[in-house]
Symmetry: D2
Subunit: 295 residues, 4 copies
Amino acid sequence: MRKTSRLKHLINSRNLEFLMEAHNGLSSKIVEETGFKGIWASGLSISAGLGVRDNNEASWTQILDVLEFMSDATSIPILLDGDTGYGNFNNARRLVAKLEQRNIAGVCIEDKLFPKTNSFINGQAQPLADIDEFCGKIKAMKDTQTDEDFMVVARVESFIAGWGLEETLRRAEAYHQAGVDAVLIHSHRSDISEIESFMKEWQGRLPVVIVPTKYYATPTKRFVDMGISVAIWANHNLRTSIAAMQKISKQIFQEERIANAESEIASLEEVFRLQRAEELQEAEQKYLPSGNRGS
Amino acid sequence: MRKTSRLKHLINSRNLEFLMEAHNGLSSKIVEETGFKGIWASGLSISAGLGVRDNNEASWTQILDVLEFMSDATSIPILLDGDTGYGNFNNARRLVAKLEQRNIAGVCIEDKLFPKTNSFINGQAQPLADIDEFCGKIKAMKDTQTDEDFMVVARVESFIAGWGLEETLRRAEAYHQAGVDAVLIHSHRSDISEIESFMKEWQGRLPVVIVPTKYYATPTKRFVDMGISVAIWANHNLRTSIAAMQKISKQIFQEERIANAESEIASLEEVFRLQRAEELQEAEQKYLPSGNRGS
Amino acid sequence: MRKTSRLKHLINSRNLEFLMEAHNGLSSKIVEETGFKGIWASGLSISAGLGVRDNNEASWTQILDVLEFMSDATSIPILLDGDTGYGNFNNARRLVAKLEQRNIAGVCIEDKLFPKTNSFINGQAQPLADIDEFCGKIKAMKDTQTDEDFMVVARVESFIAGWGLEETLRRAEAYHQAGVDAVLIHSHRSDISEIESFMKEWQGRLPVVIVPTKYYATPTKRFVDMGISVAIWANHNLRTSIAAMQKISKQIFQEERIANAESEIASLEEVFRLQRAEELQEAEQKYLPSGNRGS
Amino acid sequence: MRKTSRLKHLINSRNLEFLMEAHNGLSSKIVEETGFKGIWASGLSISAGLGVRDNNEASWTQILDVLEFMSDATSIPILLDGDTGYGNFNNARRLVAKLEQRNIAGVCIEDKLFPKTNSFINGQAQPLADIDEFCGKIKAMKDTQTDEDFMVVARVESFIAGWGLEETLRRAEAYHQAGVDAVLIHSHRSDISEIESFMKEWQGRLPVVIVPTKYYATPTKRFVDMGISVAIWANHNLRTSIAAMQKISKQIFQEERIANAESEIASLEEVFRLQRAEELQEAEQKYLPSGNRGS
């Protein structure tokens, strides 16, 4: 089954499904090996991994380069956290064409302005996109895709921006009419009350995706009960790698040796395994004359 | 002081100094914050992070793109693990020009053939570069640099390839005559005997760099006693991030929730701090009219 | 003298100076060999050369990649036609840092909105940037440059947008106060009347740059008399290459042979000369052992 | 019909067919509009356009970026002049995967060593690839393609290298057995005698492609009579654009005005037409709310 079709099934499944964050080829591979059915290519995590801010400091083609490595390293579908689509409808439809080429299964765009700021920074001060303009963007994206199962998800930022339930419903419905495949309702509260109020009124018109980064304490059972389609664990691989690298770097710096680190970290052989070194050795047997590495 | 000059001082210091591996902007920043004086841009780690093999699967300009993010995120010098220079002398001298532009302080090239294979995979079967050809490459690189403190380090692979001490000395001396700034003597033994035999004969003709990945149990004190200039902790940030991501991904996959993960990982605020979000907020105060995010 | 200093001198010279358009490494080299003192890296020409529209379809880092080839191929300064700076003040200041690294001597930004549309398409319908926001962008750029001679030129689009002389003067003066090094006054009239009206009021507060694409029939002597600093021949290498390629392609297609084309086009030897093949052959003599091409 | 299938038909057609060189998106578009059925993405022309030498100075991913623009701008198939495959079998099979993603219809690889030198520079001194190693590369490429019509063409350089007919036949047959879809027989003689001697012995075992750059005076009728499948006009768009840009640059430099140039070059409207500006204006009508350009 194509990656797009797999993401479509996942989003439209009757069960609550999960996407796990990755931000480069390596973390993507780990997400797949763990058993997850799909990957969230987080804009925050990708930019943090690169060493820049989540404010469109990396260009959209630099993000595309990261995605290509992620897609090549894995066989499960990837949903891109595509900010605002990196410009207007024309930039967004170009993005769709480029994502399809790199076998990315779908993209989520948010109703903010370019260049974006992360929703958890200064969220309330951020203006939202004009609804009609955003709907035009959605239409242009859906008209551009050549794989009918490519997914476009609209992320509604009105709770974050302080506009409340009514505006959130109005936007979600407008994006629905414009043709999106799902809505992602974002909230920065530490409880799930905003999402809950939305779900009651929404009544399953389209699948709903959530990102429980701030309301992490809410039991997953409640997401199921509300009828949420997909929950995204949005930045945890990045955050654990930060903690781990800070710890090991500090330990090695202080001890001036690596002997004590050896047992806590992946072995070199595990690195080679993740890189699929064995497949290359087999291929060398097959394609190289004996004693020749080729040039 | 320029990054190149800082690396030069570090390599020529009388004390044993350390370089810590990084493979993207984020890990580079962590290495700097920890207190290390320099960064080892590991070819293995960078390729593994991207999700490809350490066999020149990523192009040399894709490596350059990673390095640019690493350099932009930090103020300490970076020494690139530059494989074979990615081709012949002409490719290698182009590399030097491009590294200088991106403020990379130096590059280490190894006397193997393009495309390379990691030294810890099937090392003994790997043919070495012709000495004269490799010396020509070194000369071309030294003639190309415009910053006189840019460092070119020659990595001698003859121990790994099974040629023993005599060939290692012959190569190191040839590279010395060709103009390198230091030699990196590589060994895949679990003890330091090969390095030790070299140091006895070498007699400090040039600074010596080592990578104790396999002989990690050797006390650092012995490196000092032998007169080693730089020890490189070559892949430990990558390896700890693998272990950490595998663990957290598995935990979240099994528990279907993130609440228990929260305490073990870096906070969102720590992510924003590493990205220097605050500097941007201050800059917005300075450069944006009130109530306007700009476009 | 640094490329930045050469561009600064050129802009501040008492004589009328000229910049000639180039859009890739090859055309840049030709501009330099012809004798021009500087290159205009035209956004229209670069995008057309790539095969996309002049609406920020190519990402800013794709433009940067083109510029790097242009700069590496030449020794005269390049002034980038940098659209709106590719986003807000933060994108624009990142651009400055990246241009300096690639040895680009200056950038011209225009007071329109991202994504831009070429000024000669539907110009009057295009909204202009908020003046305060644009001035903040200029300040951020000037504060970012590390080479004091790096040039930031502000392109005033108010004549094109139909706002007339008063608004043009108001904007030019505001940008002047914000710290730009020159203003580019753009007009799509087929005569020079708009520019003339501006020059009378401006009184040389800052150097003025013009782009006479539409008023090409105006004698250059009049630019001198008005006190114009720099005239940009903005897209003529692109346009002549289009005409030439259309002609030769048609001829070869129809004749089904190349014999008749041979005399009208550059020889293969001229291609090799422009690529500096000879320097490489000399370097091979110097750096390669005899009979070895290296790897 | 897919681009790959169209190239396959063209190569296997009973008639002599032609490929015309292009080196960026713009020239590709012109080749298509002229009526040609396919494009030759010349390594020499692409490198010259970028401003570098035809010696793998541009990385293989930089070439890929150029190809992506070329493919996006056109609907006819592109055959890449892929040098040696940019490394060994593993690099070459990665290339195939990346070309398929970017909708490139086929690739021609030559039996030389990485990094390559243009065949018309110092050809006779160039060593050839080991036959077994090159056959392994071909097999790896054919095993990698997922579109069964993707074309792999083997370019035999033994005439150029001075090895004569027998070696050329031996190599062509070996590559045939290894699975290539056609052979390109290259010659730097100013007459077609080498090609003719080959065709007599070859007896149509596989389609034969030629590049008559040096024997341009040979009537095309003779190619037909010999049973050549495809003739490539390999660098003429590049070479005419050089002549044209040198001429117009010189004229404008000397006259210090553009008025006389105007009539000889493509109009601005023609530039916009080639960029398909009209499609965007229509799309703006469709996707943008009135009076809003989006962001």
